[in-house]
């Protein structure tokens, strides 16, 4: 297709405002998929995405649309995730586009990530088309949403299209706006091919499948191309697009979006944001985008030590489709050999763990998540610590700095008091408050990252009865009085439960952890003592009483088969517990402790 008839756009929004549902509609309306193939959340292809009703990966699709002017256009859509943890997917997708559909839930109005995503799009000079979605809802408030567009985002209210992705209202108008308002791709002015790699996934047969956007020239099978960043030269095997399943094309031209394969076996060789050029040309690199770095770390260990190699292989496979996820080998006194893994946030961490358990059938234990601390030693050296086990002894420490984040919380006026209490409970300070409209304010505050990791978002939701939302960005480091909290089980420190906490919170945290462990460690044949200690000083203790019997006092002919199966299952369960000295700690304990 000639560039004048191509439009590339992303769909951005706050979580759950209806991006995926609208994408489905567009696919349907353009006949990309027939009604009978229609399932809800078509673009959410991972089981996990469907189950949780959220999008995790960005999904590109190519559609053909016959516009009212009688001409046919190639529309390349990229659905994006809404959750903060995956904001980097959004910015990557945006860099492949000229425009963005901004979806706003008419009942919720502008929320924290609406603001954040619009800023991302503006920064990249994209044309934004506002869509006010869910107008079918009885409590939809279109005029107010229009007002918020003007007031909060400085987007002309009259440019918004009213729609209901669910009822199919406004879909054609959206498609027309895409054609009319979003600029078509233009050559970069350089000579020869320039294509941006904005995502990739791994296919067992084809190797790395790279998602590309051609900015200049064209991509064809058989071409020899260079990956500028890695310096690698490869032969293009296949080029194609998604509808949403991958299909072959004979070329990808200027402005088009699709994928290529080139027999690349290792995803490390393809860097996100890299530029692909023709070996014979001298075209330079495209702007690319900022690399993202994991912010949250946790150890992942196999329950059965013999699964180590297997786990390693599966982590590798996961990384193939998730470039934000990093891992490296480490050992733990309590858990043996495992991996230190880095994640973008807690949702990302949960998702990786869940995929390992479910898709790969691995029995794993994950340690308490940690951020990266900068430790200034008394000898003047600086250490980066992302694992509490490696925090040096206090006597060698001069000071510790912890990572901070700037958070933006939008909340209805009546909850400001509770929100401020939450922020100060989390060791944060409010920087300023802005009135967004008659009902809502935005609180900008500075908080330690480790405080928002676990339940900050959930707490906001519950304080505001679901009406609050938040977004954050990283804001450097700050010196803090941090200490290491150890958990001891029968006097043995279980390093997997250790964490670095602020001194003022260490004791209450220790008590909470001890109480939680008491709940989740099953009774054993002897007494189990649980203690929390800060620098060797015990601050909390709990006891799990000894099991006095393990026998069901009833077993006759009819029960034998059933009973045998039950006992076999329990035996399997015991194998899946981790033993520390003589104490068995079930997998769930490690998960529950996360939530304590």
């Amino acid at each position: 297709m000639d560039a004048a008839h191509i439009r590339n756009f992303s769909i951005i929004a706050h979580i759950d405002h209806g991006k995926t549902t609208l994408s489905d509609r567009l696919l349907h309306m353009t006949g990309t998929i027939a009604t009978r193939e229609m399932e809800e959340q078509l673009l959410d292809s991972m089981d996990l995405e469907r189950e949780r009703g959220i999008t995790i990966k960005a999904h590109p699709v190519t559609m053909l649309y016959k516009a009212k002017n009688g001409e046919t256009y190639e529309l390349n859509l990229i659905d994006t995730p809404g959750h903060v943890d995956f904001a980097y997917e959004v910015s990557r997708s945006l860099s492949a586009c000229e425009g963005a559909l901004l979806i706003i839930d008419a009942a919720q109005g502008v929320e924290a990530q609406t603001v954040a995503n619009v800023h991302l799009a503006m920064k990249q000079n994209l044309t934004v088309i506002p869509v006010i979605n869910k107008i079918d809802l009885p409590h939809a408030n279109v005029p107010q949403t229009r007002q918020q567009l003007e007031d909060i985002l400085a987007i002309p209210a009259e440019s918004a299209i009213e729609a209901s992705a669910k009822e199919g209202i406004g879909i054609e108008e959206i498609l027309e706006a895409i054609v009319e308002r979003i600029p078509h791709p233009k050559p970069t002015g350089e000579v020869g091919l320039q294509a941006l790699v904005f995502d990739s996934y791994f296919d067992t047969y084809k190797g790395v499948v790279s998602h590309v956007r051609v900015f200049n020239g064209e991509l064809k099978p058989g071409m020899l191309v260079k990956l500028l960043h890695s310096g690698k030269t490869v032969e293009v095997k296949e080029v194609g697009s998604f509808n949403p399943k991958p299909y072959l094309r004979d070329r990808l031209q200027l402005g088009e979006t699709g994928y290529i394969t080139a027999n690349i076996k290792s995803p490390q060789e393809v860097k996100m944001g890299d530029t692909i050029t023709d070996v014979r040309s001298t075209a330079g690199p495209l702007p690319g985008f900022k690399e993202i770095h994991p912010m949250v770390f946790s150890g992942i260990y196999p329950i059965n030590t013999s699964d180590y190699e297997h786990l390693k292989a599966n982590l590798g496979k996961l990384q193939l489709n998730d470039s934000a996820f990093v891992y490296q080998a480490e050992t733990s006194v309590a858990l043996g050999f495992g991996f230190r893994c880095g994640f973008l946030g807690l949702l990302h961490l949960e998702i990786v763990q869940e995929r390992l358990r479910r898709e790969y059938g691995m029995d794993i234990i994950a340690t308490y998540p940690s951020v990266i601390y900068k430790v200034l030693m008394t000898d003047g050296t600086l250490k980066q610590v992302d694992n509490p086990a490696f925090l040096p002894e206090p006597t060698y420490i001069e000071s510790i700095e912890e990572p901070m984040v700037k958070t933006f919380v939008i909340c209805p006026n009546e909850y400001i008091g509770d929100m401020m209490a939450l922020i100060s409970e989390k060791r944060g300070a409010i920087d300023h408050t802005e009135t967004l409209d008659a009902r809502r304010v935005m609180l900008t505050s500075l908080l330690p990252l480790n405080e928002i990791l676990i339940d900050f978002h959930d707490r906001i939701k519950s304080i505001t009865r679901g009406y609050g939302s938040m977004d954050y960005e990283h804001a450097g480091y700050r010196q803090s009085d941090m200490v290491k909290l150890d958990m001891l089980v029968n006097a043995e420190a279980v390093d997997a439960f250790s964490c670095i906490v602020h001194r003022d919170k260490a004791e209450s945290r220790g008590r909470a952890l001890a109480a939680k462990l008491k709940e989740v460690i099953p009774r054993q044949q002897y007494v189990v003592a649980i203690q929390a200690a800060i620098g060797g000083k015990v601050v909390a203790r709990e006891t799990v009483g000894a099991l006095r019997k393990d026998v069901t006092a009833k077993c006759y002919g009819g029960d034998i088969s059933r009973k045998r199966k039950l006992l076999e299952k329990q035996k399997e369960g015991k194998k899946r517990m981790k033993s520390f000295g003589s104490v068995n700690i079930p997998q769930e304990a490690f998960i529950e402790v996360l939530k304590a």
Partner: protein
Amino acid sequence: MSDAIIGPVVSLYVHVPFCARKCSYCAFYSEPSTGEEINRYVAALTREMEWIQCQRPLQTIFFGGGTPSILNLRQWEEILTTMHRLKLLPAAEFTVECNPATVSLDKARLLHDLGVNRISMGVQSLDEALLDRLGRVHSREMVFKSWDILRKAGFQNLNLDLMFAIPGQTMTVWESTLAEALAMGSEHMSTYEVIYEDDTPLYAQLQAGEVAEDEDLSCAMFEKLVERTVSCGFEQYEIANFARSSIPAGLTATTIPPIPDVPRLACRHNVNYWRGGQFHGLGPGATAYVAGVRSRNWANTQLYCEQIEKGCRAVESSECLPPRRRAGETAAFGLRMPAGWPFATFLEVTGYDLQKEWGDAIQELVAQGWGELSKDSFRLTSEGLRFADSAAQLFLGD
């Protein structure tokens, strides 16, 4: 070394799937029903009896339920005369389960006269409030009344079923139930701890937080049980089963040879289960274990009857473990008896040498103080019996 010596089947279990009303803890297959349905069941059952291959007469027979005593006189007569005609009777031990609400003197006499020589009475508790909570149809008074009727009808081998760890049951209540039950002077006592089975009202109450489990209390109750029964002259011959050794004058159930270390009035039928013996199972939902295969009839009376009427067996599922796993299962369940396993007996039943095949498990148990090894047998200690499920796991699986 895996072929057990499989002799003729000497035990028979018959399931009577009817109850007046469902108890709140019950996960057995049973349902309320009309006289018509029971007639149809009796016809199917007697037909199914014709097909079994076994030793004639049988050594042990057990009618369980459901509520076998719910059948009327005519229905019982039909079943028992059929069994005589088929030469399944007279059996050395023939037990019928009775609900205290359904025992009449006529019925008791009929059973006694036609070869039943042991009655197992489902008492469960002697506390009215708890009986109510369990959803039992009978009262305390009915227990005592039925008891007298059974004795009057001539039964000299009676069992009482009691439950403990019932939600709301205090130690005091349990002790007084125990004392009253022991005072009744039964020959046998079998007990069980409340189990919260899926799909029972009791389980739902547990989920809803209306009742709670108290592990320490149920353990104390179990200890109290063992202490009280033993001091009244019973012998604990399985985790939750107690029997007397002395045979009452006039009891004729002595035609089968005694089992070493097991009291004379132990329930032979159940001992056969725990020691890996074969048994047929007739009736809806009944299980059987014949020639190494465990099978189960359809737990659906209508379907069961239809199958039998068509001349087909009513087996819903069957399972045959590989010989070594089967032997492991036998080892595990046999250890529920304090007598444990004489190695010779185990070899005879399973074809495996217990000491050789599970030497590690035995060592582990002995080291832990849970097992006791002698020259020719292995058993669990009284401490080990309290952890019999953990011990069993060492013998199960591959």
